[in-house]
Symmetry: C2
Subunit: 329 residues, 2 copies
Amino acid sequence: MARAWHLKSRPDGMPTAANFELKTLADAPLGEGAIRVRNSWLSVDPYMRGRMNDVKSYVPPFQIDEPMTGGAVGEVIESRSPGFAVGDKVMHMGGWRDEAVVTPDMMPNKLPDIGVPIETWLHSLGLTGATAYFGLLSAARARAGDVVFVSAAAGAVGSAVVQIARARGMTVIGSAGGAAKCAWVKELGAEACIDYKAGPVLKQLQAAAPKGIDVYFDNVGGEHLDAAFACARQEARFAICGMIDAYNDGKPMALRYIMRVISQRIMMKGFIFTDYLPEMAAFHQEMGQWVASGAVQAKTTVRDGLEAAPDAFLGLFSGANTGKMLVRL
Amino acid sequence: MARAWHLKSRPDGMPTAANFELKTLADAPLGEGAIRVRNSWLSVDPYMRGRMNDVKSYVPPFQIDEPMTGGAVGEVIESRSPGFAVGDKVMHMGGWRDEAVVTPDMMPNKLPDIGVPIETWLHSLGLTGATAYFGLLSAARARAGDVVFVSAAAGAVGSAVVQIARARGMTVIGSAGGAAKCAWVKELGAEACIDYKAGPVLKQLQAAAPKGIDVYFDNVGGEHLDAAFACARQEARFAICGMIDAYNDGKPMALRYIMRVISQRIMMKGFIFTDYLPEMAAFHQEMGQWVASGAVQAKTTVRDGLEAAPDAFLGLFSGANTGKMLVRL
């Protein structure tokens, strides 16, 4: 019997375990065109916090007492779709559950066997990697020689940004919470990594990038974004991927240096990786090579068992993860 | 004997008359390549507030006890430059004074006789008009059919933006302080004009643009910028020209809706009109036609006499001007 996490209540501020409920799904016969998938890995991502609010955004909100959804990989165990056979490995959006009836709107994708562990399709070769790749190279138009600042650089997206930037000949300054994460970010190729828990971001960024930054990849907002405004060079470009600092607190963001957007002619662009779907083939090709060659490596933080999914998700907001947070079933 | 306004002291917050001192200039012999100009009109502009601080920016700061500079037009009364003859009308950067020794670094430009009053070169055909034109059409890439929101729409730049947007087939919503200014903005072709003194900007903008905005031309920052974030449609573009709300108060800007930059994929670009100098010929041609045909009209607020220059400048921060603030000598 399949089970899925349901949204029990909407959080006011930081979500808690009480907002989630694990329930058995009613037996569902497989409709024409659908497949049944036994999930092996689930993805939890910061963007899901927005879906817990009852607000129209780029993805629809989760509904109270309805099963939640998200990225997952697994194996087809029953198929009524001509595109899929039993045994196929697939990536799809029927996550937060152990077994999924996957309809075409959940975007099932058959995974080619390129010799990587299946969960790679949930990080380097999935949403995470595509977000890093298109944000850095398309939204921010970063190029060889640029000085790139990345916040949450030990996170799933941030650590991919660091490595893609290095592979393309940029100088990288990361920011992460704590000495261990910073050490890892430097191992990935960053020239410096700011420990935002050890002191103000701005002073540390000024020291790490005395000549300023050309690109800022924002996962955080708030103090990090403000420091990037303060240190931006002429014609700097900011890709705004996330503002996790602001997801839960509901307070206005206080920016002291935003006026420099004028004097430095800063360009700032919000994006979602799906904006670049037409260029996905280029991403898979270049990123596939980097993953195969080891130029891009991924760390994962793994929680075991479907029961652990809310805890894994909540850990994203307390920095419990290094690299990509995953749930292994 | 020429006189010029000097910077007496740097303001802390809002500038006052005490920061300025009118002094006689020492007699200056004319160097090779220079011209002597009797100024007839002086420009005062919000960007000059930044030059009163001792901060490196896109224009160098004014120096204590040194004469201030700025846009001016006048007539050549002595020339040691082969490009200029006595009697030529010129625009240059030797403002804040009645008579100027203009060296090439002050960018003197001979004014063609196209049948417009000479002060037009300080507003519609000068820095003001170019700022409106390039900000709207190049920085924000506004196009026919867009819904454009303009703050300080009764100001010099804003009123030009309203008219250029109308001439190019856009729908315009302005914001200005007070019923009289709003009435004028609507006369210029805006579909609606928000009176920011009459209530919160956000509620009024939501009512005026129920389907949202495609473009925001920012002269103000703060509450206006935040309302634009709140009302932005997908792929909205913001041209950031000025943030006059923040020039004097030194407080961080509080933005409640900046996170929408991600969900709406907003692009925000800071600019200065000089970024587009290579396209100046196109501006002069199109804007010249609009001025000649009356499609773009300018209101000016005029203060008389060199003595009035600081008062004219300070009036920019209390909304004393409708349209372009000028000093007539």
